[in-house]
């Protein structure tokens, strides 16, 4: 029986400082949670900087980071690991969560509600004072290495009621609230990430704000910072602003034609 996790620590370490513009006191809050090894839940709409924040914190704390994007076919075993057959031999392969527990990494479960219900069974003992991972296949109990921290993200308002997080899960986390940054900060982020001129970044942010004004008119969510950056990136590639906004902002947001018309009006005004 061999172990396949040998190469992990290096590749999960973040060597260059990720660009992250602090919006409030989230950095010090996270640091405090990390010092006390408390699990953290990041709440907020899509594309507002949650993932980037975790990357930045991992770098800042000098810890490896393992990210898992959760989806509806994600079983507990996908997090923990499984046996593989190799030339008549069996080989145990640690899953990402197990890796993180062993190496004392930050494990980031993105959109955790999407995962199968049985994952919570795994998460619970890791997120209370036991801080252990139980691998039933190997009948092994791994205590979490110092530095291990579980971080989940959660987008309230977007979920189906049938999929909400259970209270017993929620109440194991410290929660940090994320939202779109204030206009001047968002403009700074957009300019920096996409390389567009400050003026253009401001126009993109204004567009984002205007679209967020009609969030309840059939959009599930407003335009995310991410989409604004995409539009900026398309522009730096030489695409015209109107086209860039259309493909990177308007079309991804909604399929409703009449809404699209309003969105194009807003774009046409600004560029």
């Amino acid at each position: 029986m061999a172990s396949a996790d040998a190469d992990a620590p290096v590749s999960h370490r973040i060597t260059d400082e990720p660009y992250y513009l602090s919006i409030g006191n989230e950095v010090s809050l996270f640091e405090a949670a990390a010092r006390s090894a408390l699990p953290v839940m990041l709440k907020g709409p899509t594309g507002c900087g949650k993932t980037r924040f975790v990357e930045y914190m991992a770098w800042r704390l000098g810890r490896p980071l393992i990210t898992v994007a959760c989806h509806e076919d994600l079983f507990a075993s996908d997090l923990i690991g499984r046996y593989l057959l190799k030339n008549d031999e069996t080989l145990w392969l640690d899953g990402p969560l197990t890796q993180a527990v062993r190496m004392g990494a930050i494990c980031y479960l993105d959109e955790v509600v999407e995962a199968r219900k049985d994952t919570t069974v795994v998460i619970h003992p890791l997120t209370d004072n036991r801080r252990t991972l139980f691998i039933d296949k190997r009948r092994e109990v791994i205590p979490a290495t110092a530095g291990f921290q579980l971080v989940i993200s959660y987008n309230p308002g977007y979920q189906s009621l049938l999929k909400d997080l259970k209270q017993s899960t929620r109440q194991r986390f410290v929660a940090l609230n994320f939202d779109y940054p204030a206009a001047h900060q968002e403009a700074e982020i957009v300019a920096r990430e996409s390389g567009v001129e400050p003026n253009t970044a401001q126009a993109l942010v204004r567009l984002g704000g205007q679209i967020r004004n009609i969030r309840e008119h059939g959009l599930t969510e407003g335009a995310s910072t991410r989409l604004l950056i995409y539009a900026g990136q398309m522009m730096t590639q030489g695409i015209s602003p109107a086209d860039a906004c259309r493909v990177a902002i308007c079309l991804p947001l909604s399929d409703d034609e009449r809404l699209q018309e309003t969105l194009s009006e807003l774009v046409d005004d600004l560029f």
Binding site: T90, R139, N213
Partner: protein, 888 residues
């Protein structure tokens, strides 16, 4: 024509009146009135003619005599022999059916003449003549004497005469097609031009040869093809078609909603003289647009004009055109604070008082429009380059057309073109003559002073500096002039602004003065805006922010904590008349009664047993609304059924890997083999089990039945409640498919002890005849005490065993009842929702017919509600929301 009155004419009046009086008093009166209308207006021959006609008609009785005495003068006054002849001919035709046919139809004819719609009058005579010459049964004739005047009176005045003409064509082919034709107008053909309507009617009448019923369906637009053809023919764009879109644009651009109204709603405040040219007006609160737009042959061009007008007016809101503030003006130019106040006894807004301080207020107002539009143009150019380009090309075209039509060089018009629109070229130079240097001077000054970021007071300051030189050019006209030309008639209208904002302005003044007495400064215009946006109920936090901002702007020291302290001592509620009225005594009631607490935000505590909810069943009415609605929306119903089929559980759910079951799970078998090999304990979960899957959802629809739901949906002849009913009916149809359990209840209230909870469908009620009749019975009632209703609904929903319990609240605005207003009502509702949440009941608010409002987030919680501006979208959106909430 004005002719001298002779003595014999007066004698004629007297003798005729007496002759008529001997038959009936009212006849006598009619004759006297008739003569008085004619005397001095018509020739002696015409007057004799009138008398002769009266002599004749007296023989046929007072009834007809009286009608003729009243109607004939209107015809004679038009001095048109052909018209008189047509009138007599029609009268004869009508009389051939009976005197009973005269009054209604010719009464309308005379009204049309008196209103100056002679063309329509002639067309109407033609129509009557054609219709009553037909061999109609007695009942049908009677019916037609009511139907025709009623229909014609309802036609659009601008299109009345050709629509009457087409009605005549239709009736000549088959008088039973009259009703479908009129229905069709209401349903959309009214927007067609004369030629287009003729083409449309021709197609319909072609069908009449084979099937009268088919022609009827075509004319009434019930036929799909007819609708398609009508759409193809239509070039005019009605406001209703674009209003939702434009409203959403405003919401996006401004962050608050600005309602769009029909220009006709401006009523007498608008100068009629100028109406055809004025395509947009704004009073700082609402935006007014024409009911329809047909400037261009292509509908999309007309739609563009609508959009452009809205975009331009949005700038007035965005850049503060309505925020003129006397104190800021004072700050800016050091001018005396109360100029103009003395002259006018301080009525009107600050802006009006400022403008009235000039010798010619209309000139000052004109200059204000010139400079303010210049300021807006520069601000837009800086922030919205795309919009600036689009505007420029429209303006260029409008100016070119105007100059081609009329190249008089009125000074204000020239200033508008050069300063406000920024256009300077040879054309303008040529017509400007010796005004040219003046134009260039003010254009330069405006561009220098009105930099982006400047406020409306900067424009006002320019009015002051430019006024003397402009007045010197224009002189002092004796009579007030027509407003000068601008593209689309756009101008700032201080009078309208004042009318719309007088009340908040007064409130703002009171609050400002009160704050000043405590050493706190705030700008009245800021307060006014805050009152407007907050519907009169601003919060302490708003005030604090405004005061802080004002102190910063005025470079005054102020600490946030001092402001907070001072504000805490103010009784804002008393100041703004927000104190609650005493609770009303309860009426005698049937049904079961339930007491609920209410959250008092001011107290920070519950008032126990504060509300009394009476629960009863809504009585049924026999109205086939349900059936009719399903029939009318067959397409939508089919679509919804299809969508909900997808939500429906597949019947079976697979559990895997499971300890026992009907078959092996191959994935688990594989894992089993591997585990065995690896020498570790294999799992015994090797099976797949199929169980019947159930969507364990219970939903209660709680419907606001307050008075406001009787409001008409803008641009449709339906009330908000009616559309809501439609949505509910379609929703029932859909839930039937999915099989989710659901209930419907309505609520309404009048004071805290009188909250009605009306059960329309209980969870256990089948969707039967009675339920359907109760749905039809929903009607607008009283006020909205939302918290109490939610608490009761929660109680009912909590009794239902279900995995997911969902409370959908359908309303058209904010809670509001006696002693239950503003923040207090919102806070209580929010509490009630939280209480529901604590019992694992999810709430979702659906608000129709208003724009978004940040306070809706406070009411339902962000992301827990949906705004549907155009209530007609409700049916569709309801499914979308429900589908999303309960997808598995």
């Amino acid at each position: 024509m004005r002719v001298p009155i002779h003595e014999w004419e007066v004698d004629l009046l007297v003798s005729q009146t007496i002759a008529a009086l001997t038959m009936a008093t009212s006849f006598g009166e009619a004759v006297a009135h008739g003569f008085l209308r004619l005397l001095g207006q018509v020739s002696p021959e015409q007057l004799h003619g009138y008398a002769r006609r009266l002599d004749e008609v007296r023989r046929e009785g007072a009834g007809l005599g009286q009608l003729l005495a009243a109607y004939l003068p209107a015809v004679l006054l038009r001095h048109d022999d052909a018209l008189l002849e047509a009138f007599e001919a029609t009268l004869a035709t009508l009389l051939s059916k009976g005197v009973y046919t005269v009054k209604g139809p010719l009464g309308l004819f005379v009204q049309l003449l008196d209103r100056g719609e002679a063309d329509a009058g002639v067309a109407l005579l033609d129509l009557l003549e054609a219709c009553f010459a037909l061999p109609l049964s007695y009942n049908r004739s009677i019916y037609m004497t009511q139907f025709i005047p009623q229909a014609v009176a309802g036609f659009d005045p601008l299109r009345r005469s050709f629509q009457i003409g087409q009605l005549k064509r239709v009736i000549q082919v088959d008088h039973h097609l009259a009703e479908p034709f009129v229905e069709g107008l209401a349903a959309g053909t009214t927007l067609l031009s004369a030629a287009a309507l003729t083409a449309f009617v021709s197609r319909a009448l072609n069908r009449a040869a084979t099937s009268a019923e088919g022609a009827g369906r075509y004319l009434s637009l019930a036929a799909h093809r007819a609708r398609a053809f009508c759409r193809e023919l239509q070039t005019t764009v009605p406001l209703t078609e674009v209003r939702g879109q434009l409203g959403r644009y405003l919401q996006a651009r401004l962050g608050y909603s600005v309602a769009i109204h029909d220009m006709a709603d401006l009523g007498g405040a608008d100068d009629h003289m100028d109406r055809p040219r004025t395509l947009v007006a704004c009073d700082g609160r609402y935006l007014f647009l024409p009911k329809e737009l047909g400037l261009y042959e292509q509908p999309h061009r007309n739609r563009e004009v609508y959009t452009l007008l809205v975009k331009l007016e949005a700038a007035c809101f965005e850049f503060g055109s309505f925020d003129f503030d006397r104190q800021r003006m004072h700050q800016l130019s050091g001018s005396p604070l109360d100029r103009g106040a003395a002259r006018d006894g301080a009525v009107g807004s600050d802006l009006e008082r400022f403008l009235n301080g000039f010798p010619q207020p209309d000139l000052a107002a004109g200059l204000f429009t010139v400079f303010e539009h210049c300021r807006l143009r520069l601000a837009v150019a800086a922030r919205y380059p795309g919009l600036a380009r689009e505007t420029a090309s429209f303006m260029e075209q409008a100016v070119a057309e105007e100059l081609a039509l009329d190249s008089k060089s009125e000074i204000l018009k020239l200033l508008y073109i050069t300063v406000a629109l920024g256009m300077v070229d040879e054309r303008i130079h040529r017509i400007a003559g010796d005004n040219w240097p003046l134009l260039l001077q003010w254009m330069q000054t405006a561009v220098d002073r009105l930099v982006p970021g400047s406020r409306v007071e900067a424009s006002a300051a320019l009015v002051r500096s430019a006024y003397p030189s402009v007045e010197a050019r224009r002189g002092r006209p004796a009579a007030p002039r027509r407003p000068f030309w601008t593209p689309f008639g756009r101008r700032l209208r201080p009078d309208l602004i004042y009318r719309a904002t007088a009340i908040p302005d007064r409130m703002a003044r009171r609050v400002r003065q009160l704050l000043a007495s405590r050493g706190l400064r705030v700008f009245q215009s800021d307060l006014r805006k805050c009152f407007l946006r907050r519907q009169g109920t601003p919060e302490n936090a708003d005030l604090r922010a405004l005061i802080l901002a004002a102190h910063t702007e005025l470079n005054l020291a102020a600490s946030a904590s001092k402001i907070r302290l001072e504000l805490a001592e103010l009784d804002l509620d008393a100041l703004l008349d927000r104190t609650s009225a005493a609770a009303l005594p309860s009426r005698s009631m049937s049904g079961t009664h339930h007491r609920y607490p209410e959250w008092d935000a001011h107290l920070g505590d519950y008032l126990m047993g504060h509300t009394l909810v009476r629960e009863r069943r809504l009585p049924e009415v026999s109205d086939p609304l349900y059936r009719r609605t399903v029939d009318r929306h067959t397409g939508l119903v089919a679509r919804i059924r299809h969508a909900f089929e997808l939500l429906k559980p597949q019947g079976l759910k697979l559990l895997r890997p499971w300890r026992e079951g009907d078959s092996f799970d191959y994935r688990a078998m594989l894992a089993f083999a591997v585990d065995r090999k690896a020498g570790c304990m294999p799992s015994d979960r090797l099976y797949v089990k199929r169980i019947k899957h159930q969507r364990d959802v219970a939903v209660l629809l709680l419907v606001d039945l307050s008075r406001s739901t009787a409001n008409q949906v803008q641009g449709a002849s339906m009330s908000v409640l009616h559309v809501t009913q439609t949505a509910i009916i379609l929703f029932c149809e859909a839930l039937k498919i999915v099989g989710d359990r659901f209930a419907i209840a309505g609520f309404s209230s009048s004071g805290r002890l009188d909250v009605d909870y009306l059960r329309i469908k209980d969870f256990d009620d089948p969707l039967d005849h009675q339920t359907k009749r109760r749905i039809a019975a929903m009607t607008p009632m009283r006020a909205t005490r939302m918290g109490a209703a939610i608490r009761h609904a929660t109680r009912r929903l909590a009794e239902i065993p279900a995995g997911v319990r969902l409370l959908l609240i359908l309303g058209d605005g904010f809670p509001n009842d006696t002693g239950y207003k503003g923040m207090r009502a919102i806070a209580d509702t929010r509490r009630a929702i939280q209480e529901a949440h604590a019992r694992r009941i999810y709430t979702r608010g659906i608000t129709v017919n208003i724009g978004s409002d940040a306070r809706l987030d406070e009411l339902y919680g962000r992301a827990h509600h949906t705004v549907i501006q155009d209530v007609r979208d409700l049916p569709d959106r309801l499914f979308e929301i429900y589908g999303r909430l309960t997808r598995t």
